[in-house]
């Protein structure tokens, strides 16, 4: 929900509550005032009647004024004065109307009379109706004005916020080193911008350091690995090693070889991430595909694979080494993860490169395939970095890469 919508709902709700309460209070107050007024005027009339009776020595024959009704009836003993309310049917409108009443004693020539004045009041219905109408109109106007005002405020006041939001949405850590926001005179937003700027700069710097660290660490590891490997090779040449010792040397030697390959792969990944392969040139992908198929020929024959080629001449602006690694990894994979007597299909044209191979289902989710150290099986010899490298190369050149598995066929599509 948008902030504006939420604010508006809040305002409308608040308006309704305030006006309902306000209306009730208004209604009660107004009603009380009319009643008090009626009571006062009834007292006036009482005085007038008593004055009339004492001066004329007779009961007034007609209602004095104001459309009020006065009735007299004879009583045995005087009772106390009493105010009250009652309702009478109005024949012309066929509904009950409220009256305020005042009963009091009149004594004339030794006879006790009871006088009752009926004063018509404003109907409650009418009063409520009028008040409701007035309040509804006022609140409607208020709500409309508020909503419009909110829109306008959001347009102008929130503008810097939206600009910052756009900037952050577009921010890509891998591409830009830092981000700067446009200036704003609103204190909260300029504070937010400052915080975001510090934060992104810090993140970018950390990210850069981390990448640099990976590369440096891998690079520094090369030398000790070289030393270990060379010492082991010298050891292997020794004539006086027992079979057990030789076996142990062999295990260490193999592990060192693996470590060294792993390190090289990580170094390569770091270099691609750090965009160190900058020098590009026109590379004929179709030629690389052919040369890789040649290089893998033995392996293809060994597994009895049939290769279907659909290769058009395609030249792209790439780094030679990366193009080489990309195709080597993809074609290598299509052979390694193939089945005996399986098929490989390579389609290359200006739009895309599609490499598919037969093979059993893998237990990974398609997107996980491109993560580092994800392997089809733990037992496999592979380092689990081949496709991560492929993905990284694709990212570096803005190629889209997709993996699909259907009907025992794995397909990797790279769209240029």
């Amino acid at each position: 929900m948008k902030l504006l919508t939420r604010t508006n709902i809040f305002f409308v709700g608040l308006t309704l509550i305030v006006f309902t309460l306000g209306g009730t209070v208004f209604y009660k107050t107004f009603r009380n005032i009319t009643r008090e007024d009626a009571t006062e005027r009834l007292q006036d009339e009482k005085t007038k009647i008593l004055t009339y009776v004492s001066s004329h020595q007779s009961l007034p024959q007609n209602t004095i004024s104001l459309g009020d009704t006065v009735a007299f009836y004879q009583v045995v003993a005087p009772a106390t004065e009493k105010t009250g309310r009652t309702k009478f049917l109005n024949p012309s409108e066929n509904e009950y109307e409220p009256y305020q009443t005042l009963e009091f004693n009149v004594s004339l020539k030794g006879v006790n009379y009871r006088a009752v004045i009926f004063k018509p009041l404003i109907e409650a219905d009418d009063l409520q109706h009028a008040i409701f109408q007035a309040i509804a109109i006022v609140s409607l106007i208020l709500v409309i004005v508020m909503v419009l005002a909110n829109f306008a405020i959001s347009r102008f006041v929130w503008k810097p916020f939206h600009r910052t939001l756009e900037k952050i949405k577009e921010f890509d850590l891998a591409k830009e080193g830092s981000v700067s926001f446009s200036k704003t005179s609103i204190k909260e937003f300029s504070e937010m911008n400052a915080v975001l700027e510090t934060m992104t700069n810090k993140i970018a710097a950390d990210y850069k350091n981390l990448k640099q660290f990976t590369e440096n660490a891998s690079h520094e590891l090369q030398t000790p690995l070289s030393i270990i490997q060379s010492k082991l090779e010298l050891m292997i040449q020794a004539e006086n090693l027992s079979a057990d010792q030789m076996e142990e040397v062999r295990v260490v030697y193999e592990a060192t070889g693996r470590l060294s390959k792993l390190n090289q792969a990580l170094l390569l990944l770091a270099k691609i991430e750090n965009r160190q392969f900058v020098e590009t040139k026109q590379v004929a992908l179709n030629e690389i595909v052919e040369s890789k198929l040649n290089a893998f020929e033995e392996l293809i024959k060994h597994k009895n694979l049939s290769v279907e080629r659909n290769i058009e001449p395609v030249t792209l602006q790439l780094h030679q080494t990366l193009a080489d690694i990309l195709l080597s990894n993809l074609i290598g994979n299509s052979i390694k993860h193939n089945i005996e007597g399986g098929r490989i299909s390579i389609k290359l044209n200006k739009e895309s490169l599609v490499i598919s191979n037969s093979g059993g289902q893998i237990s990974m989710l398609p997107h996980e395939l491109f993560h580092r150290f994800r392997k089809a099986s733990d037992a496999s010899d592979s380092l689990g970095l081949g496709l991560a490298i492929v993905k990284e190369i694709c990212d570096a050149y803005g190629f889209d890469i997709q993996y699909m598995y259907a009907n025992m066929v794995h397909t990797i599509t790279i769209s240029f």
Binding site: T223, S226, K231, I236, Q237, V249, E279, K292, A295, S328
Partner: protein, 225 residues
């Protein structure tokens, strides 16, 4: 044969010079840029093994200086930087070969022999091991004067063995020598085994001895029995 090794990592330099010493080379070691640069200017070597990242300077500058003075000098770059640009630059400056660390000593040895062989003229070109004779110039192999026909891989394998006779050559180094990086993550043992089987068969068919010994789990050794 005199070889100069310019390498700042002392332990590694020790291993290399020990291995090459066992192969009959006289191996001098220079541990830094200045001493290395000085040595190549002053003395003549059959080959210079040159590290690029040196304390005190870039190995490529040594190469440049050396080639200006002695254009015919043989140089193999050994670098921890697997960088195509460095490789191209080095080869452009006249280096004969480029090897990335970590490398197999047997590989370095094979490359070194190949470089020196290519540069020595007049008869010394042939590689002879008992009844086996290889003439690398035209890739002809004879056993007891009878020529045998080898596939490209079998020929490469034989040359690799002949460069590292009487030594255990690991299957990893053979795989890398024959296929480079392409076979990474593939169990290449089967392929090596089948090439060795064929090579052995072809040599023995012409009356040659079986020189290829299996060193269990480790690799092979090409040696007289």
């Amino acid at each position: 044969m005199k070889v100069l090794l310019i390498e700042d990592e002392k332990t590694l330099a020790e291993s290399i010079s020990l291995y090459l010493g066992q192969e009959g080379y006289i191996c001098e070691v220079a541990n830094g840029f200045i001493i290395g640069d000085e040595k190549v200017q002053v003395a003549d070597y059959d080959c210079v093994l040159l590290d690029i990242t040196l304390p005190g300077g870039n190995g490529l500058d040594i190469l440049n200086n050396l080639k200006k003075k002695k254009p015919g000098a043989a140089v193999i770059i050994i670098s921890a930087k697997n960088s195509l640009d460095d490789k191209v630059k080095g080869l452009d400056l006249g280096a004969d070969d480029y090897l990335t660390k970590p490398f197999h000593l047997s590989e370095l040895n094979a490359r070194l022999k190949s470089v020196i062989r290519r540069r020595s003229f007049g008869g010394g070109n042939e590689i002879i091991f008992n009844e086996i004779k290889v003439s690398p110039a035209d890739a002809v192999v004879t056993v007891k004067e009878k020529s045998i026909s080898l596939t490209r891989k079998e020929y490469d394998l034989l040359l690799y063995f002949l460069a590292n006779t009487n030594r255990v050559v690991t299957k990893e180094s053979i795989a890398e020598h024959l296929w480079g990086e392409e076979m990474d993550g593939i169990d290449s043992l089967d392929f090596i085994y089948s090439h060795i089987k064929n090579l052995r068969k072809k040599i023995m068919e012409k009356g040659g001895d079986d020189y290829i010994q299996t060193v269990y789990g480790m690799g092979y050794k090409f040696a007289k029995k």
